[in-house]
Amino acid sequence: MQSQSTPAVILRTRPLGEADLIAIVLTPEQGKLETAAARARNSKKRFAGGLSPGMRGVAAIARGRGALLRLESFDATAAHAPVGADLTRFAYVAYLCELTDELVLARHPDPELFAALCLALEQVIGGAPQALQLRQYELALLRCLGLSPALTSCCVCGSEVGSEDSAAFDGPRGGVLCLEHERGAPRLPAAALAAIQHLEAGGDPAALASAPAGVRRAVRDAIQSIVRSHLRRPLHAQAFFAALPRDAGAEGV
């Protein structure tokens, strides 16, 4: 049967028998797909650079027997070798893939989400990996899933939240809160809220690189409180990152 070519990102693979792999791939027009890659572990021609999480390329996908999709070939279109050369980058790429795989439902195509993942991978793999790039992707992913946090008006009543030196922010409840609804909510420094707004608006994460570590941590904790409330289990990539020797400047995933 004729195979279809599509841009794709490898999210995860697992062995299938001796030489085959199951590859979970994200595509812009067909969403997340589970495919079987026959002889992927020894075919130097059809899977020249191997199949590794975070690889971007062009996949040829054909319908197999029944509902099974066959990954006929995968040609990398972006350099992937830098991933193995830096442990922070290695862990970040794993995190981006695992987070996407966990939160995105199969066969719900979303070209915007695909573009956001490709952008995050390009930033992390093509340049210096920074935790704020992950934060921006988390916000994009939440947006695509319809789970964006409220950042300017109360997530309960919609009233404008004044700009003080800090705002009440409760991730699982939906974002910032007004005076009337803020009871018990954690405080988020105004600088951290502004940073989140900057990332959410598509601003360059590098512009925040010089922000104080406390602000960057507050950004991470605020966004991750939302992400965590939608995950069924802790992510392996986070445990992995925690077990690595700490690089100066590398922030938790």
Partner: protein
């Protein structure tokens, strides 16, 4: 499988064989049938060898390669260079390097490579055991011979980071275009690697 099949010794053997890597149902039945026809002494020796491999083989207490107890023959061999350790992911990799006949140092088997999504971090590998072998100053060089893929590379980077402060020379096996291969057919990542790992002529 029906009750009759489960009772049938041929079916039972074939079913057990299919659990081995690379053995499908057809191959399993062919192997089972060939055992039916085989010489009785051979079948007894095979059964004994299969039971023995599980009973007698453990891990070398020094390098964690497969061995029949205590230290393996390579770790005990005084003619080998004990100042150099080649680190591999799995016993098969040690066997492949040993087959070249070009290496005469010792080995260390990690039993895996770093794999964040598979839940394999540094603590799941035999890394602490490697560090223990480097205490004292008898080892001067460690060659990291993990596969040239992302996971193998990351494992090598991790080890280099850990070992360099100990004053040991750490190197990585070279990789790039396959010997006998043609350049125009090499993929982008392999060519990138071949260029990065180039050496002076």
């Amino acid at each position: 499988m029906t009750g009759d099949d489960a009772q049938n010794p041929l079916q039972r053997l074939a079913a057990l064989l299919t659990r081995l890597p690379g053995i499908g149902e057809k191959t399993a039945m062919r192997l089972a049938l060939s055992l039916v026809k085989a010489d009785g002494d051979y079948v007894a020796a095979l059964a004994d060898a299969i039971a023995g491999v599980h009973r007698q083989l453990g891990l070398c207490e020094v390098c964690f390669d497969l061995c029949t107890g205590g230290a393996c023959e390579r770790c005990r061999d005084r003619r080998r260079d004990h100042g150099i350790i080649c680190v591999v992911a799995q016993p098969q990799d040690r066997m492949a390097i040993e087959r070249t006949g070009a290496y005469h140092g010792l080995y260390h088997v990690l039993h895996g490579v770093l794999d964040p999504l598979g839940g394999v971090g540094p603590d799941e590998l035999r890394v602490k055991e490697l560090l223990r072998r480097l205490q004292g100053d008898s080892v001067r060089e460690v060659i990291v011979a993990t596969s040239p893929n992302v996971e193998g590379d990351a494992t090598a980077v991790y080890l280099a980071k850990l070992l360099r402060p100990l004053g040991v020379q750490v190197s990585r096996i070279a990789s790039g275009v396959a010997v006998g291969g043609e350049l125009e057919y090499a993929d982008m990542n392999t060519l990138n690697r071949a260029l990065a790992d180039r050496r002076a002529l």
